[in-house]
């Protein structure tokens, strides 16, 4: 299987200028690979830097040391220090990301948010809408809500719309940050099924799963991240 | 010349001032439709009474000229009479009310109905020379727009007319394009007169006293009224002929005869009307109209 994501010696620290220049090490010397059709779970205690690692892979956090390479349009592209346009192109075609929260776009109906994601690589608008309807149905979003903007939904409903959007996009690499947080058992199982579906479709997945049951159900490999100690700046 | 000028130079203005105005006029003729700034002088009449036109007339007037002055087409209104008398006094030139006899015609609001000749000059009194002023208050900007021939704004004005009234409702000071270049305000003449400006044999000079601008349309210059393809320029049509001289295809004034709605339409150009009546034309109300309107029969 093709290696889709390759991290080598990745590290990240934050310098908090507003707190007298305190340096916080978030991730230290992390290496991992994720192949097509494989799900890699990031493990480790809370605060170990799992979310930071995902955000570096996505290009949301800058990479201070090491290398993050992503297979994009047939070749490996380095994310560390990449030009914003390169990162934008990788996100547009290769990298998907499901965060814990839905950043709502005002006024756009739930079904359109999901359909847009399903259609964003071009193609049939009708098919994209069908896919959006399938995902919203699977995730138990009542049909009467589809035409409404999710800003007014409950937290759980918003999260499910968020998951639907994340899974609607057909990207070869999918990053999942606690996709099942705040979901009930039935919906958790739906997410497990969706992840399995993606794996079968050859998608490489890197995720954070707080829930041990889910993790063991979907993960082919668990990479433990050790907490790094905080250091004061010199 | 010194004989009759007691207290005034010939035609009121001093010779230096006249030379300055003539230079502005020559420049205006050289660049048809372009507004030439000039050092407008105080005249013994208020702004709005034709100070610009009077200065242009004073600068081009010679001893042998015959002057006609019209206001709203009439030779007998206060403004026309006083300007005619002014030049009679300060220049001693002959004056006339007959278009055909005049060499210089100073006008406010009308162009005579009779076709003008090459040996005649028409001098317009202009209140606001800038056709773009309606939408663009900045002088620096309107000058740039003229320099670059950016005249989209004129059509914005016409668009507004159609949007509001269903047709181009501008009936006075209807903007024209002179010699395919400068968009020009024809002064508050009715748009009925716009076609007379096109390829006119006479020299047309425009003077704006308060705004200190002179512009010109040389003889035989193409003058086109702006319009839209689907709302072409059209002049006013009058259903009835002149009630006094039976003329058709001329500009008519409405005259209210009493407070019970009785009215009549008569030639705005009084000289034209009188000439026709003298030639035997007879309008429907010629015999019944009040003396004040029909004049001497």
């Amino acid at each position: 299987m093709t290696t889709m994501v390759r991290l080598e010696g990745v590290s990240k620290s934050f310098t908090l200028h507003l707190r007298g220049g305190v340096v916080i090490d978030a991730v230290h010397d992390l290496s991992l690979t994720a192949k097509a059709g494989e799900c890699v779970a990031l493990g480790g205690p809370s605060g170990a830097g799992k979310s930071s690692a995902l955000k570096m892979i996505y290009g949301n956090y800058r990479i201070d040391g090491g290398s993050v390479r992503i297979r994009h349009d047939g070749s490996e592209v380095e994310m560390a220090g990449a030009d914003p346009r390169v990162i934008m192109a990788i996100r547009a075609r290769t990298l998907g990301y499901v965060s814990q929260f839905l950043r709502v776009i005002p006024r756009v109906p739930a079904i359109d948010i999901v359909a847009e994601a399903a259609a964003d690589r071009g193609g049939d608008r009708e098919a994209a809408r069908d896919e959006a309807a399938r995902l919203l149905t699977l995730l138990n979003i009542p049909e009467r809500l589809w035409a409404l903007p999710p800003a007014t939904f409950s937290g759980g409903e918003q999260q499910r719309v968020n998951v639907a959007r994340g899974f609607a996009a057909r990207r070869p690499v999918l990053l999942l940050d606690e996709p099942t947080a705040s979901l009930d058992a039935a919906n958790k199982q739906v997410v497990v099924d969706l992840i399995t579906e993606k794996k079968q479709a050859g998608v490489a997945i890197i995720g954070i799963f707080h829930d041990a049951e889910i993790r063991s159900a979907v993960a082919d490999d668990v990479v433990e991240i050790a907490a790094v100690s905080q250091k004061e700046a010199a | 010349m010194t004989m009759q000028t007691t207290g005034y130079n010939f035609a009121y203005l001093d010779e230096q001032t006249k030379r300055m105005i003539r230079r502005a006029i020559l420049k205006a003729i050289a660049i048809p439709g372009y507004q030439v700034p000039f050092a407008s002088r105080e005249m013994p009449m208020p702004y709005g009474w034709g100070t610009g036109g009077v200065q242009v007339t004073a600068a081009i007037l010679g001893h042998s000229d015959v002057l006609k002055v019209i206001d709203q087409g009439s030779d007998d209104t206060t403004n026309a009479v006083s300007i005619r008398k002014f030049f009679g006094k300060v220049a001693g030139v002959a004056t006339t009310t007959k278009t055909a006899e005049a060499t210089i015609i100073q006008t406010r609001h009308r162009i005579p109905e009779a076709p003008l000749r090459e040996d005649q000059t028409l001098v317009y009194q202009v209140p606001i020379p800038e056709p773009l002023r309606f939408l663009e208050p900045r002088e620096t900007e309107t000058r740039t727009m003229h320099a670059l021939a950016e005249y989209g704004l004129m059509h914005v004005k016409l668009y507004e007319d159609i949007a509001r009234h269903g047709h181009i409702a501008t009936t006075y000071a209807y903007p024209v394009e002179v010699a395919g270049r400068y968009v020009t305000d024809p002064s508050p003449t009715p748009k009925f007169d716009n076609p007379k400006m096109d390829m006119c044999a006479a020299l047309q000079l425009f003077g704006a006293g308060r705004e200190k601008r002179i512009y010109a349309i040389p003889p035989y210059t193409p003058v086109r009224s702006l319009d839209f393809e689907d709302h072409p320029f059209a002049v006013q049509q009058f259903a009835e002929p002149c009630a006094l001289c039976a003329a058709r295809g001329v500009y008519l004034d409405e005259v209210i005869l009493d407070d019970r709605g009785k009215r009549m339409f008569v030639c705005s150009d009084t000289d034209h009307c009188e000439e026709r009546r003298a030639a035997g034309h007879h309008g429907a109300m010629l015999d019944t109209a009040p003396q004040a309107i029909a004049g001497t029969r």
Binding site: L16, N60, Y61 | K157, E160, A163
Partner: protein, 258 residues
């Protein structure tokens, strides 16, 4: 996406006597890209916008623009007619104060149609049809076409400005604090509209804003300015979620949930 930038700023500098308006600003902008310039008032972001839009002469540096014919020109070298033609065809400018961006004394339809008439459109029916299409796109009711902007709300005026600018299909639009002074719900509607237009038309936008939430929602990339200089630049979510510069951190931490 084409590989050639639409606009390149190179070492853009503006001095007002001794005072620095902005200093040594460089970036590339591509078609379909939204660039936000953020900073406090007095940070030089409006000066920068003025330089980019060719409304202010630069003290040093240059702005290179790829014209519609594909030829890259230094905008300072354009003649006055070229400059004005560019500004009313291939560029748009949405002003903070709609009274500066609209003609308040003529109808909405004439405001939208003005650029078309300036380019020589002489069919009334065609102008009106195009104006109606654009009113639809910016969500202004068709029956308001003959009303003047003085009768419009703040949000409607800004949407009208957008229609007036986009009618010639410009490739680049400058926006100066387009949402300031609007209610939050009205802001959201406007931003959503702009997002949709960017996606549909592939517009490039340079937007000046002090509102990081606006930058977050609209822009792909961000430039943080302070005292006339760029202190940080990058992907919008990168700069807002992982600000490096001390001032950027202060700016981000001063806003609630940007």
């Amino acid at each position: 996406m084409t590989d050639e930038p639409l606009l390149r700023a190179r070492g853009l500098t503006k001095h007002y006597g001794e005072r620095i308006g902005c200093a040594d600003v460089s970036f590339d902008l591509y078609e379909g890209e939204v660039l936000a310039i953020v900073g406090e008032s007095g940070s030089g972001k409006s000066t920068l916008l003025g330089l980019l839009a060719n409304e202010l002469p630069a003290t040093a540096g240059e702005v290179l623009y790829r014209m519609r014919d594909g030829i890259v020109r230094d905008i300072a070298s354009l003649s006055e007619p070229e400059r004005r033609l560019l500004a009313r065809t291939d560029w748009g400018y949405v002003r903070q104060d709609s009274r500066e961006g609209l003609r308040m004394r003529v109808s909405a339809g004439a405001n939208v149609g003005e650029r078309l008439m300036a380019l020589g459109e002489r069919r009334y029916a065609g102008i009106r049809e195009t104006a109606l299409t654009w009113l639809d796109r910016v969500e202004i009711a068709r029956n308001r076409i003959d009303d003047r902007p003085t009768d419009f709300s703040g949000g409607m005026r800004q949407r009208l400005q957008i229609a007036r600018n986009l009618v010639t299909n410009p490739r680049l639009v400058f926006m100066d604090e387009p949402t300031s002074g609007l209610d939050v719900s009205v802001q959201a509607r406007l931003l959503d509209l702009v997002r949709g237009l960017v996606a549909d038309l592939g517009l490039a936008i340079v937007i000046v804003t002090h509102d990081l939430a606006v930058a977050r929602l609209l822009s792909h990339r961000i430039v943080v300015m302070r005292r006339g200089r760029v202190v940080e630049t990058g992907l919008t979510d990168q700069v807002l979620d992982d600000p490096r510069d001390a001032y950027s951190q202060l700016l981000v931490s001063s806003v609630l949930a940007a």
